[in-house]
């Protein structure tokens, strides 16, 4: 039976706080060294206390696990390592009971080569329905303009299959053959899988690797009209059959190329803003707001029912695909001194190590994440400043077990430590004895408390999720200042002035706020009234890496000093 949506507001995702986690990495209930759904369920109260409103689960489907679950061998089941379908349903219900939505992965560009569809395709005669589920060719010279994404491991997007006596197309690892979206049967199968989870009550789908669904010779095989047609079909099905659901597009592209994935509000509800993320780090290191203001100037407007997804870090490398060559070189030098910190076209590090574990830098970056136009997405463990392990292969260094306490296995599992799916971070700075939830819960000054307070504060102001953005341009470029404004629709506005000091030293700034003269700024964290805005430049002094959020209230509403 089809379950109703758990969210009542169709635009719920605009006000959401999304928390990305891997079931495998969060909590292990059966002491086998691998996280599972019962374990995750037992930690839902923690996420609720943190203020999370939507949980994004990395792939939890049956898989040979050669790409951390993105190589799926069955779309409609749960990997036995993580529990059963019933366990998932219990988790989903418990999340909904806590007013949290759940987002899962719809990895449809490719399957595992162990998927029954691919096993059948290899054996099926050319041109047969089973064979046509994938993209085959007798030559590896087609689609030569398509770039290789995993440059560290792949030398071609084609792989010869001895059984099929043909090449098959793969944009990612060679064990991940691409599905053939020119075949209507593929779309039907994808819709079946989608309905399976949505019927169960799942609220949101993250569409992995969305730009690569279709291929055409003589093109980059990215962002093709045929790909958009597939997305529109999926969206139309959702709109026709379900209420208050969400599609989030993973399209690691320039903003102008991502824009079409919103369509006219009839493709994806949300899309990640990939190019913003490295530029935030660049602006911080260069102590110059230009990288941020520049990419935001290139960011086109999106339909009213759409939203950007913002993040500082995720389960992949800090991708540097959407930067110029010079910018990429700078980022490598600035943020990955050790070559082991690099993978593919990016940097495989967590938030805290990236900024040398400097608490003020972490807070500053989070303040940008929480105040920029879009929905913030937190990566598990970053709320306590977890570290990484660059000696683990691929991107596993940022996928280590969640650090709950200082007990054995960081409270993640009761198994023999040797059984853990990945070793814990154990160095003296980021190791679980030093960085863990339990310690930070009892420390009122911890990063965890700070993050929780900031999330709660953001949730009080709808302007952050729904308002417009306009930059101020003070002469001091070490200061990033911007206004967020929301027309409440009743003749009033919710307006917030955000000012961030990107520098390691105190900075003065004079803001031209003449058009807001008469407004009464109130510092939002402490509800502290600031001097009234006048025609004269509004002068502020900011401590190193500090930020101010000032609500601009009409004069009659100013709080008592």
């Amino acid at each position: 039976m089809k379950k109703l949506a758990s969210a009542t507001d169709p635009l719920w995702y605009k006000d959401a706080i999304i928390y990305e986690l891997h079931v495998r990495a969060f909590a292990d209930s059966n002491a086998d060294g691998i996280g599972d759904f019962p374990g995750l369920l037992s930690r839902l109260d923690y996420l609720q206390d943190l203020g999370v409103t939507c949980i994004w689960l990395l792939p939890f489907f049956p898989s040979p696990q050669r790409d951390d679950g993105y190589d799926i061998s069955n779309y409609v089941d749960v990997n036995p390592s993580y529990g059963t379908l019933n366990d998932f349903k219990q988790f989903l219900l418990a999340a909904h009971q806590r007013n949290m939505q759940v987002m899962i992965e719809l990895v449809i560009n490719h399957t595992s080569d162990q998927h029954p569809w691919f096993k059948a395709a290899r054996l099926a005669p050319p041109g047969s329905p089973a064979r046509e589920m994938y993209v085959w060719s007798s030559t590896n010279q087609l689609y030569q303009d398509a770039r290789i994404i995993f440059t560290d491991t792949e030398i071609s997007n084609w792989k010869w299959d001895e059984t099929a006596k043909a090449y098959y197309w793969h944009r990612f690892f060679s064990h991940q053959p691409d599905l053939n979206f020119d075949n209507p049967a593929v779309i039907e199968e994808v819709l079946k899988a989608m309905r399976f989870w949505l019927d169960m009550g799942v609220d949101a789908l993250r569409m992995d690797a969305i730009p690569y669904l279709a291929e055409r010779d003589g093109t980059s095989c990215e962002n093709l009209p045929e790909t958009h047609a597939v997305v529109k079909t999926l969206r139309a099905t959702i709109d026709a059959e379900y209420a208050n659901r969400l599609i989030l597009a993973e399209a690691n592209q320039w903003p102008a190329d991502v824009r079409p994935y919103f369509g006219d509000g009839d493709e994806c509800h949300m899309a990640f803003h990939f190019p913003l993320m490295p530029r935030i780090y660049m602006a911080l290191r260069q102590e110059d707001r230009l990288p941020i203001t520049d990419i935001m100037a290139q960011t086109p407007a999106i339909p009213a029912n759409c939203q950007w997804g913002l993040f500082l870090r995720n389960h992949d490398e800090l991708t540097l695909e959407m930067v110029t060559d010079d910018e990429r070189d700078y980022m490598y030098i600035a943020y990955s001194a050790d070559p082991r910190m690099r993978v593919n076209v990016g940097i495989r590090r967590r938030l805290a190590p990236l900024v040398d574990n400097n608490r003020r830098r972490i807070e500053l970056l989070n303040s940008l994440l929480l105040s920029f136009p879009g929905t913030p997405i937190l990566y598990y463990g970053d709320e306590i400043g977890m570290g990484d392990n660059i000696y683990l292969g691929d991107r596993n260094g940022v996928r280590t077990p969640m650090q709950w306490n200082s007990d054995r296995n960081a409270g993640f599992s009761k198994c023999d430590p040797a059984r853990l799916y990945l070793p814990l971070v154990m160095d003296p700075i980021y190791g679980y004895q030093a960085i863990n939830v339990e310690a930070q819960v009892s420390d009122q000054s911890s990063l965890l408390h700070w993050t929780r307070n900031m999330i709660a504060l953001r949730k009080l102001f709808q302007v952050f999720g729904r308002g417009t953005l306009s930059f101020l341009n003070p002469a001091n470029r070490k200061i990033l200042a911007y206004l967020r404004d929301l027309d409440r629709g009743d003749g009033t506005h919710e307006t917030v002035l955000c000012v961030a000091n990107l520098s390691r030293f105190a900075q003065p700034v004079a803001l031209d706020m003449a058009d807001r003269a008469g407004a009464e700024p109130v510092e939002m964290l402490g509800y502290v009234p600031f001097p009234t805005v006048t025609e004269a430049p509004y002068v502020l002094t900011l401590a190193p890496y500090s930020f101010l959020w000032l609500e601009l209230q009409p004069s009659h509403a100013k709080p008592a000093s």
């Binding site: 009122q444 408390h449 009080l460 009743d490 509403a557 100013k558 709080p559």
Partner: protein, 398 residues
């Protein structure tokens, strides 16, 4: 009162069941029911009314009103979520323009009071009509100490009885309350309390208050403060938490109404011995200090220390101290600093201290209503304290 169970309709003229005003009555003894029906018949043209009650009607003795019966619910001393769902369902079914909900013992309300509440919401300028009761000086003190000042301070409404047991509702107000109530009834919590003033304020609906004179307020079956205070205050705290994004915006208060002076009868309530309350507070100061120190900042704890050594005659709790205590308990409730049940239990001796202080102040000649207004003004004045604590609940504070 009523529930959402299927309605059996009795004593209904065969013409039609549409009504201008739908009246939902609480369960009450037959003589009280007769009195209420008489008051209704006197206040409204009978053809415009449809009355629902959980009690059996006696066609021979009741006025010629169109009536339906509804099953009673467990909670009889106040309105609850199931009542609001029932009220809206029936009002909508019978195409009523407005709803009048009358609680237990509403027979003590006169025809003019009923008329005021109902006529207001028949008029499109008002969505919620709330009564202001003339009660004995020592009655409804949880309301005076916590519910009224907190609701007024945060939602900018001067409704003196936010948990009034009689309400006039426009149809859209009734619908909004039913929607809010549905969250509880769907979770099998039909006896949960709702906060109509807060709902109306958030919705931007117009609220009007009417002096309805004296009224016998129904009492809970077991009038045990240890049960009632946590239930009522916990419910209000939850509602405030859920509506934080609204009340965190500063809003001017509506114009001040002169407190209605109590009648002599209301004032002659007999002297109350405050000594047991003060002893309860002093005992708690020793036993519960550890819990209070998790909730209250040093300045408040210091204020309590000073209070704990006062003798009964001199016992006065500063209004500002009480306001901050309530604000800090509200914050601790939101943060789940300790188990919510234990938290609200730990608030009771502090409430008793406020009551003792209030009684001492009124015994020394201050009109009770003036003191209650002064307390509410303290809540208003210190609202920014709550705002800042709510936004940055660091324990390291003054």
């Amino acid at each position: 009162m009523a529930t959402i169970y299927p309605v059996s309709e009795t004593n209904v003229p065969s013409v039609h069941l549409e009504a201008e005003l739908f009246v939902l009555l609480a369960a009450m003894p037959p003589e009280q029911l007769e009195a209420v029906l008489s008051h209704l018949a006197a206040a409204f043209p009978t053809e415009s009314l449809l009355v629902a009650s959980p009690d059996a009607f006696r066609p021979d003795s009741t006025p010629p009103l169109r009536m339906v019966t509804v099953p009673a619910t467990n909670v009889s001393w106040t309105l609850n979520a199931a009542d609001f769902v029932t009220a809206y369902q029936l009002a909508e079914k019978h195409k009523a323009r407005a709803v009048l909900m009358l609680g237990a013992e509403s027979s003590s309300l006169g025809s003019s009071a009923l008329s005021d509440l109902a006529q207001a919401v028949m008029n499109p300028t008002t969505d919620l009509a709330v009564p202001s009761y003339q009660l004995p000086a020592n009655a409804a003190l949880v309301n005076s100490a916590i519910l009224y000042p907190l609701t007024r301070g945060l939602f900018g409404s001067r409704a003196r009885f936010p948990l009034a047991v009689d309400l006039g509702l426009s149809l859209r107000m009734s619908e909004r309350l039913a929607t809010a109530a549905h969250r509880f009834t769907a979770a099998n919590q039909g006896d949960a309390l709702l906060w109509p003033v807060n709902e109306a304020t958030v919705a931007g609906f117009a609220i009007n208050q009417f002096d309805v004179g004296t009224r016998n307020l129904p009492q809970p079956a077991g009038p045990d403060l240890n049960t009632i205070l946590p239930m009522v205050v916990g419910s209000l705290f939850s509602d405030i938490d859920a509506k934080a994004a609204f009340w965190q915006r500063p809003r001017p208060l509506p114009p001040l109404r002169d407190p209605v002076p109590r009648s002599q009868a209301a004032l002659l309530d007999g002297a109350t011995d405050v000594a047991p309350m003060i002893q309860a507070f002093q005992l708690a100061y020793t036993n519960l200090y550890e819990i209070w120190s998790l909730v209250l900042p040093p300045n408040s704890l210091l204020g309590l220390k000073r209070l704990s050594v006062l003798d009964a005659a001199a016992f006065r709790m500063p209004d500002s101290l009480w306001a901050r205590i309530v604000f800090d308990f509200l914050l601790a409730y939101r943060l789940r600093t300790i188990n919510r049940g234990h938290l609200l239990g730990a608030m009771i001796p502090l409430y008793l201290a406020w009551v003792a202080s209030h009684l001492n102040i009124t015994a020394s000649g201050t009109e009770p209503e003036r003191h209650i207004e002064a307390v509410a003004a303290a809540f208003d004045a210190d609202k920014s304290y709550l705002f800042s604590r709510w936004r940055w609940p660091d324990r390291f504070n003054p």
